[in-house]
């Protein structure tokens, strides 16, 4: 395995020195994000988005969970910014981030299992947009 490219995070734990790419992979691999970053939820906090979901559940609607590749691009840039500004040296633990996203993944799985959520296919246009912006 060759040397890792790109800026490194200063996260603690077994993956100390992980690249942004690797950190991002942890966030994306669990196939999550879904409604938390669903299109149109704009700048709402994570918490507010969760409350929004609860509201929808209360209304007995089916939630369409959309996996958006654009999210990957946005998180990549956010993490890059955090490294540049030094914010990520606040030492978020990679293990905790992984578990946070496991929570969200479990949340969606439970929702799907109870017939309250449906997972939609990813939107190709967002993949193309993310790729073009990333160049």
């Amino acid at each position: 395995m060759g040397p890792r490219q790109g800026p490194r995070t200063s996260l603690h734990g077994g993956l100390r020195g992980a690249t942004v790419e690797e950190t991002l992979r942890v966030l994306i691999d669990t196939n999550i994000l879904a409604h938390i970053f669903a299109k149109g939820s704009g700048r709402l906090s994570f918490w507010a988005r969760a409350l929004l979901v609860r509201e929808l559940l209360g209304r007995n609607d089916t939630i369409i969970v959309v996996y958006e590749e654009q999210v990957e691009y946005e998180i990549r840039r956010a993490l890059d910014n955090m490294i540049v500004t030094g914010a990520i040296t606040v030492e978020p633990k990679l293990e905790a981030i992984r578990n946070i996203y496991r929570d969200y993944s479990d949340l969606i799985n439970s929702c799907v299992e109870l017939g309250k959520c449906k997972v939609a296919k990813r939107q190709e246009s967002h993949i193309a947009r993310a790729a073009s912006l990333n160049r």
């Binding site: 704009g42 700048r43 906090s45 994570f46 918490w47 969760a50 409350l51 979901v53 609860r54 559940l57 209360g58 946005e74 998180i75 840039r77 956010a78 993490l79 910014n81 955090m82 914010a87 990520i88 606040v90 978020p92 633990k93 293990e95 905790a96 992984r98 578990n99 946070i100 496991r102 929570d103 969200y104 479990d106 949340l107 799985n109 439970s110 929702c111 299992e113 109870l114 309250k116 912006l133």
Partner: protein
């Protein structure tokens, strides 16, 4: 008068118990986040269900929750959480229509409610504290 005082004292005791359970649940959830140990989260879910039922027609519910705690200590976590979900069935965001023997569905229902209330709260605050929310906002504004 004595009865009123007793009632007030009882309410205060319930409120104190709820506060303690609220804190313990969140501490356990943080322990789960730090270590990845799912048994910590499962125990937090059990405490959460106890917090939810505190002060509400507890007699029948406590029976289920005691059985749930016993199962939990024996490592039968899915059944334990299904029983805890059943004990709090009218307080869940959504309750399954399937019978209790479908433990997976009942556990999922408790998990969904727990993650919406406790998980989203603790996780969201942690991410906000670390600045991911602000960083994402910047990205939105730049984009």
């Amino acid at each position: 008068m004595t009865r009123i005082v007793q009632r007030l004292a009882g309410r205060q005791a319930v409120a104190t118990l709820q506060r303690l359970l609220w804190s313990a649940t969140r501490i356990l959830h943080l322990a789960y986040l730090a270590t990845g140990r799912s048994d910590a989260r499962d125990t937090a879910m059990l405490l959460y269900s106890l917090e939810k039922v505190a002060g509400r027609e507890m007699v029948e519910r406590l029976g289920y929750l005691l059985a749930s705690a016993t199962l939990m200590t024996r490592g039968r976590r899915e059944e334990a959480l299904a029983l805890a979900a059943y004990a709090t069935r009218d307080l869940l965001v959504t309750a399954p229509k399937s019978p209790l023997r479908n433990t997976e569905a009942w556990r999922s229902a408790l998990q969904l409610t727990y993650l919406l209330e406790v998980g989203s709260d603790v996780d969201g605050r942690l991410l906000e504290t670390w600045g991911l929310g602000r960083a994402l906002e910047q990205v939105y504004m730049e984009g």
